[in-house]
């Protein structure tokens, strides 16, 4: 078990190195930050000096090497756009992105699983049919469109919710949270729905089809024949057996929620890492882009690891074999 975790973490380092390498091979095409920093009237000599100081005149593998060496010393440089250390910027933005992503994932699970179970148990009821056809909207509409529609209805027409930003935040140590203030919670509603809607419909459809599958299985018939209550059969036996694929998908999706919150963050000016990345791209802010991409790679690896560990919890068959094997 421990060996498994360590092996996975070592893999994470390899993944991050590969991501950084690919990123640096692409950075030579993102443009010239010097041009943006010095404006149009800089003298050629000054421009060449800064380009040289920033190492932008080096081949990309040299830049990559410098990045790795500095990263090993815990140095990620300063943002060329706003002049602050990249590590500080990412640490400041991480809470916003994580709060939003986790709320979106919770929303997807809290609504998606019950709705999926219901649609699986009563596939022909009108409520299930409505939910199923409604879910098509969630799958097919692009995220930014959902965001803009929500803003138009709830911010512009009704004036109930703020159109942008994170509201007031409370600082708890190094963590800034919007969950403790009224404006913070209000600001969270629309981005959460926007970001979570796709996952919600995905989970709902997945649970439904898994439920339909499992409910036909022999052990369910047997459980009913034993005279167990509906509740015990549906949730204790049926739902539990649908959970392995659901956990896999949810886990992978949580990674992509964090990574692809970029669009939602941009639409709502949500001050998370995704917005930081978008701004960095438009300014060719290479230190921020490099660090962000590595961080996202790490997030994906860690989430995959957690998903793998969860299998042990949910699936007893894995638990039975593993201890013996690891004990030897």
């Amino acid at each position: 078990m421990t060996a498994f975790v360590i092996r996975r973490l070592l893999q994470a380092i390899v993944v991050m190195l590969v991501v950084a390498f690919v990123a640096f091979s692409l950075f030579q095409y993102v443009g010239d930050p010097v041009q943006l920093m010095m404006g149009q009237f800089a003298t050629p000599a000054d421009r060449i000096r800064l380009t040289h100081e920033l190492g932008l005149d080096q081949p990309f593998y040299v830049q990559f090497f410098h990045f790795v060496v500095n990263a090993l010393h815990g140095q990620f440089g300063v943002s060329l756009r706003i002049g602050k250390p990249v590590s500080v910027l990412l640490a400041q933005r991480l809470p916003a992105t994580l709060e939003l992503s986790i709320c979106a994932a919770l929303l997807a699970l809290a609504v998606g699983i019950p709705a999926g179970v219901y649609a699986g148990l009563r596939p022909n009821s009108w409520l299930a049919r409505t939910a199923m056809s409604g879910s098509l909207v969630g799958v097919s509409l692009p995220t930014f469109l959902i965001g803009i529609l929500l803003i138009l209805v709830f911010a512009v027409k009704l004036g109930w919710l703020p159109a942008f930003g994170r509201g007031d935040v409370v600082h708890l140590g190094g963590w800034s949270t919007g969950l403790l203030t009224r404006t913070g919670l209000e600001s969270l509603i629309m981005p959460t729905i926007t970001l979570g809607l796709f996952q919600l419909t995905l989970i709902m459809r997945l649970v439904r089809s898994e439920m339909l599958e499992v409910l036909r299985a022999d052990y369910i018939k047997f459980a009913r024949a034993r005279g167990l209550s509906d509740r015990a059969v549906n949730f204790g036996h049926a739902l539990r057996n649908t959970l392995v694929p659901v956990i896999t998908i949810t886990g992978l999706q949580l990674g992509s929620i964090i990574a692809f919150s970029i669009i939602t963050e941009q639409v709502f000016q949500w001050p998370g890492m995704g917005l930081l990345f978008v701004q960095a791209v438009s300014y060719a802010d290479i230190p921020v882009m490099a660090a962000y991409l590595c961080l996202i790679a790490l997030v994906f690896v860690v989430i995959n690891l957690i998903v793998d560990l969860l299998y042990f919890v949910v699936d007893p068959r894995l638990r039975v074999d593993r201890p013996g094997a690891a004990g030897r």
Partner: protein, 525 residues
Amino acid sequence: MRKGVSLCISALLAAMLVAAPGYAKTFRWASQGDILTFDPYAQNESFNNTFNAYVYESLVQYDKKFNVVPQLAVKWEQLGPTQWRFHLRPNVKFQEGEPFTADDVVFSVHRQLSKRSMTKAYLVGVVDAKKVDDLTVDLITDGPVPVLLRQLTDVRIMSKSWCEKHNVVDVQDYVAKEETYAVSHADGTGPYILKSREPDVKTVLEANPHWWGKLEGNVTEIVYTPIKSAATRTAALLSGEIDFVLDPPLQDLPKLKSDPNIKVIEGTESRTVFIGMDQKRDELLYSNVKGKNPFKDLRVRQAMYEAIDIEAIKRTLMRGLSIPTGELVTPQVYGYDVAANTRPPFSVAKAKVLLKQAGYPNGFEVTLDCPNDRYINDALICQALTSMWAKIGLKVKLDAMPKAQYFAKINKLDTSLYMLGWAVATFDAQDALINLVHTRDGKGDGEYNDGSYSNPKMDDLIDRMKVESDVPKRLALIHQALMLHTQDVAHIMLHQQIIPWAMRKNIVVTHSADNRLRMQWVHVN
């Protein structure tokens, strides 16, 4: 009795209205990007310079008509061709209490000329600053600098003792690992004090109660929020969460104009947008014409000019928000010459004839490079141009890209045909002529002459105007140069942009041709 009560109430209301200017007036506004840094010399970006000017002041400033008027200097005189004397405003204090003296000016000039400063361009020609006494400073130049005063409007004055105290005597080094104090703290002499700064979230400024001047406007608190998404910016203005948007998207203007709570004001920008052509290489990099360069032929340049239906671009793509032009600079700029503002009339037939005379009866192929996030509808305009040029037989391939890549490409002269826009920062035509049409010498002249246009007569005119102190003589030189630019078709001119600003009905602002929102003129009613 009842009448008496209502009289009382209306008197009270009237009193409140009169007293209103004394109340806190918060002005919440937004645009696409954020402020980059509060160190005024650490970045040279137009929006950042605008914002820094709320906190930091310069020796001189522009009035509403872009005349140079006193700010931290009360008067000045030229002691010789290379020496200017400035008499400083007495009894001015920085926001943290330090008195403003000649030492601060000398320090600021030296800091701005230092190695890592990104804003040296505003001190071109200046070699030193010397203290004469506490309230007198001399600026020494390496030759006559006729546009010096205009350049100085963007030379912000910092406090020497504050910079020393916070270890920011040097401008931030982007290779270093640390941010410096001046990135998110500021201590100027200006009308507003920086209260809080959260990058990409919001920045708050408060009126400086000890400011030496008197605000023409009434804003006591500024809350700036960058909103990257254009649709969200519009929505936030409509919902009343912000009062002002600097860059409303063109497609949302009809919706904004029809809302009773919103008004849109439009003003011309001192920017012209034009097309440049490689006029130096013997063979174009991106064309099927081999062994010669069609753009060296005036007839080809004229043909392409005549093939452009600029009114159609104005009507459809710009929704009326452009002024077609034939001159390199706009009427707001010193030196503008009505006589040079002529375009050849739009005529496909005549253009075809010209092209035939030049030896290209069947046209040729060429690639047009174009930014897609820099000027209003830039890529769309380029697309329209390719189809207009197709009508005279040119096969133009469009290569549109974001500005971060675009300028890096064309500044390497890696282009045959490109779009560029130029706003004259000094409001003096010389700046456009030096940068765009002087022969490129690698030392600063012709730095944006990306098509390498070169005409000895033009160089001579520009070199003379750079050092001519006689005002009428210099104006004549500028007029001649602008006329030559038009006659030579050094660039194919398109238009001057009209910039809309959108705001709530209760906001009064003064539109500026440099697209800078000047806070001292903003009223919140």
